[in-house]
């Protein structure tokens, strides 16, 4: 579904991603871990099409299409969803209104009729139940004054509404309380299918007990330096990153 080859990206002339290779098949869950500042959010942003980042090398193929050639909105319409590490506030625009605009634009791209108010509302109800989100939150200005956890839950609610093919969750677990973590993870699990794939960026093994990954990758200094199965996450939890850093830094060619 997603094939990343030798991806290099920099911001304001500073290289951040320095040769990422990653193959993701439909139905899979990939966890990406790694120390602060290693480039995890950068990778997510580059995949989503953030213009500040300059892709200097490499290619990304998503469902047979050159992802990097598409505008950010077309990537979203093709089914790429990013749950932001730091969701953005839009004053005066309710989540409901925002999502209705988004959903109808996505549907238009896919050649579908816009949803009328009644159908939209019933879809909302269904998805609200899935992530147990309060209706009151959805009629407030998007993310404005939301608590950290509310923002994260709202991201997953949006994901549920837009039914993406590839979901990238950037530290969705940070800020969620113990119950919310379980609820939101369950929601994500219910949205999974053999046709979709998920990339979970996290610092904690705990999330991976709920959303069980098929593969775990460690990102360090803009490269995937180690890949394994879910046991790797347990090992990292126990030993930290130093042993990997040492391994990499001692054999470093750059």
């Amino acid at each position: 579904m997603l094939s990343i080859k030798n991806l290099h990206a920099s911001i304001e002339g500073t290289p951040i991603l320095r040769g990422i290779n990653l193959e993701i098949k439909a139905g899979e869950v990939h966890a990406i871990m790694g120390p602060n500042g290693s480039g995890k959010s950068t990778l997510a942003s580059v995949l989503a099409g953030r213009e500040e980042y300059e892709v200097t090398e490499g290619e990304v193929v998503f469902q047979g299409k050159e992802l990097l050639e598409l505008s950010p909105e077309d990537r979203a319409r093709e089914g790429v969803f990013l749950a932001f590490q730091y969701p953005i506030e839009i004053p005066g625009v309710s989540t409901t209104n925002f999502l209705r605009t988004a959903l109808n634009q996505v549907r238009e791209y896919r050649g579908l009729e816009p949803l009328d108010a009644v159908k939209f509302l019933s879809l909302m109800k269904e998805k609200m139940a899935l992530v147990e989100i309060d209706q009151k939150l959805l009629s407030r200005s998007l993310n404005e004054g939301f608590s950290g956890g509310e923002k994260k839950r709202n991201e997953i609610f949006q994901m549920a509404m837009l039914e993406p093919v590839l979901s990238i969750l950037d530290e969705t677990d940070s800020g969620l309380d113990i119950d919310a973590l379980r609820i939101v993870s369950n929601g994500v699990n219910k949205l999974k299918s053999e046709k979709t794939a998920t990339i979970v960026v996290t610092h904690y093994q705990r999330l991976l007990e709920y959303i069980v990954p098929d593969f775990v990758h460690v990102l360090y200094k803009g490269r995937i330096v180690k890949s394994g199965t879910k046991e790797l996450a347990l090992e990292l939890e126990e030993k930290g990153y130093d042993w990997i850093k040492e391994e990499v830094d001692s054999t470093a060619t750059v």
Partner: protein
């Protein structure tokens, strides 16, 4: 329709949507302005002598006044002698009801998206349409008549209700008020008049659509709204003008009188031709709007959405004379390309315990300049006057400007005046967030801007609010990304 045709149509409609003009015979005054022209207009309109005398007096006053220069706008001075001061569509006789109105006129309004019949049937709005000066049709008169509500063209009111006109004309905006008000008083052609009797709540929104059609015609409407004690009315004014190369002048006067316990809501959505991308053409909009809360506990609320005109100079104001009276001003002013807007309000607190609230949202894009100018004046006997002002500016790009000029003039120490101001930019991260959910940049801008202006848009009647949202999006198209 094929996809290509659709695209072409969309592209064209991005240029000024209402930019066309229909040819039909007009009955027009010769170019220029002098006493004879004023007599010509007055005769044409079969006016009583007192009104002619009033016009001539205003003309003398105007001649002695210098053109104002203090607004934060710059433009080449207009040659007022090169304008035509009266232009009426030719009609053999005056229409008695909508079915008698010239079908071509009806067609114009249909192109504008205002079908009288539709409006009549669906929305329960009474419309008094003003085309280049003469009011051509008045709907719903009957329903309103039963309640004693008068809603008609200004000229008709002069004939039918001279005592009301004589009593209130110039009582809120005297002819000496300013340069453009004096000019309007001398040459005003037509407009709307509305009177709500004591204790009557007007059951529908009253609405006037203005549109400037003939070339080189200055448009000088006169609107007078009188809400007697304990009455209520909501009045809507919408404006469009066809695309033209020369700048056209619009200098209207709106006067509102609210008696004790009366409430008047006045809403405007203005989308006159702003000039093209290079700043050529466009309407000059110099308007004097003022209301007086004459009785205790009366309330006047101005809501405006200004998206058009090349140069706008407009300060809807409230004189809070009655004790406990309330004045409100809600404004969204958008400027793009080379537009210049200098708008704001004046709240003049005279009565005790009077309150005013100002919410101004400026949005500037392109190379435009957007100024807010607000004056809060508290007179000596206005004990416990309260004012709250919120002035926000939103900038798009770095070639535009936003300016805020609050003036305070407080003569009573018990006054409480609060002023808040913010300036923000539409963030790249906000737009990216929308993009990431599948929303195109133009629509993202529209969404963010409408969110920003929500507090003001919420004040508008429903169908007006929808139109205003579309206009905001249209005005800002192509201004980001």
């Amino acid at each position: 329709m094929s996809k290509d045709n659709q695209i072409l149509e969309d592209l064209n409609s991005k240029e000024y949507e209402h930019g066309w003009s229909v040819d039909f015979e007009t009955d027009e005054a010769p170019l220029g302005l002098n006493e004879d022209i004023i007599r010509w207009i007055s005769t044409k309109k079969e006016e009583p002598t007192w009104l002619l005398a009033w016009r001539l007096k205003a003309f003398k006053i105007w001649q002695a006044m210098p053109e104002p220069e203090w607004a934060n706008v710059h433009y080449a001075k207009m040659d007022l002698q090169a304008l035509r001061y009266y232009s009426a569509p030719k009609q053999s006789k005056k229409p008695k009801n909508i079915n008698e109105v010239d079908p071509e006129l009806i067609a114009i309004y249909e192109r504008l998206g205002i079908s009288l019949n539709e409006q009549k049937r669906l929305q329960g709005i009474a419309i008094d349409v003003v085309l280049d000066s003469v009011s051509v049709a008045t709907t719903f008169k009957e329903t309103l008549g039963k309640l004693g509500i008068l809603f008609c063209s200004f000229s008709e009111a002069v004939k039918e209700h001279p005592e009301l006109i004589q009593k209130y004309l110039g009582s809120v905006v005297p002819m000496t008020d300013n340069y453009y008000a004096a000019l309007n008083s001398a040459v005003f052609s037509d407009g709307s008049f509305c009177y709500i009797p004591k204790g009557v709540r007007c059951p529908m929104e009253l609405s006037t659509y203005f549109r400037i059609n003939a070339a080189n015609t200055g448009q000088f409407e006169r609107t007078l709204i009188v809400a007697d004690d304990s009455s209520y009315v909501s009045y809507l004014e919408g404006c469009t003008a066809p695309q033209r190369d020369e700048n056209q002048l619009h200098a209207a006067v709106v006067e509102i009188y609210a008696g004790a316990h009366a409430e008047v809501k006045y809403s405007t959505v203005q989308n006159w031709f702003p000039g093209d991308k290079d700043g050529k053409g466009g309407i000059f909009n110099f308007v004097t709007k003022r209301g007086i809360c004459a009785g205790d506990h009366s309330k006047i609320s101005w809501t405006q959405v200004e998206t058009g005109s090349a140069v706008t100079w407009k300060y809807p104001s409230c004189i809070l004379k009655g004790d406990y009276s309330i004045g409100e001003f809600y404004s969204v002013a958008v400027t793009n390309n080379y537009q210049q807007a200098d708008t704001g309000t004046k709240m003049i607190h005279i009565g005790k315990n009077t309150k005013s609230r100002i919410v101004s949202k400026g949005i500037s894009a392109g190379k435009s300049q957007n100024s807010y100018r607000g004056q809060v004046q508290v007179m000596k006997r206005a004990h416990n006057a309260r004012n709250f002002s919120q002035c926000d500016s939103l900038l798009m790009g770095d070639q535009c400007g936003a300016h805020t000029f609050p003036y305070l003039d407080i003569a009573n120490p018990s006054a409480k005046v609060e002023h808040e101001a913010t300036t923000s930019k539409i963030g790249e991260d906000q737009i990216f967030y929308c993009n990431q959910r599948g929303i195109a940049t133009e629509d993202a801008v529209a969404l963010i801007v409408n969110g920003y202006a929500k507090e003001v848009l919420n004040q508008l009647p429903m169908e007006f609010a929808v139109e205003a949202q579309k206009l905001l999006a249209l005005t800002l198209e192509g201004s980001v990304g």
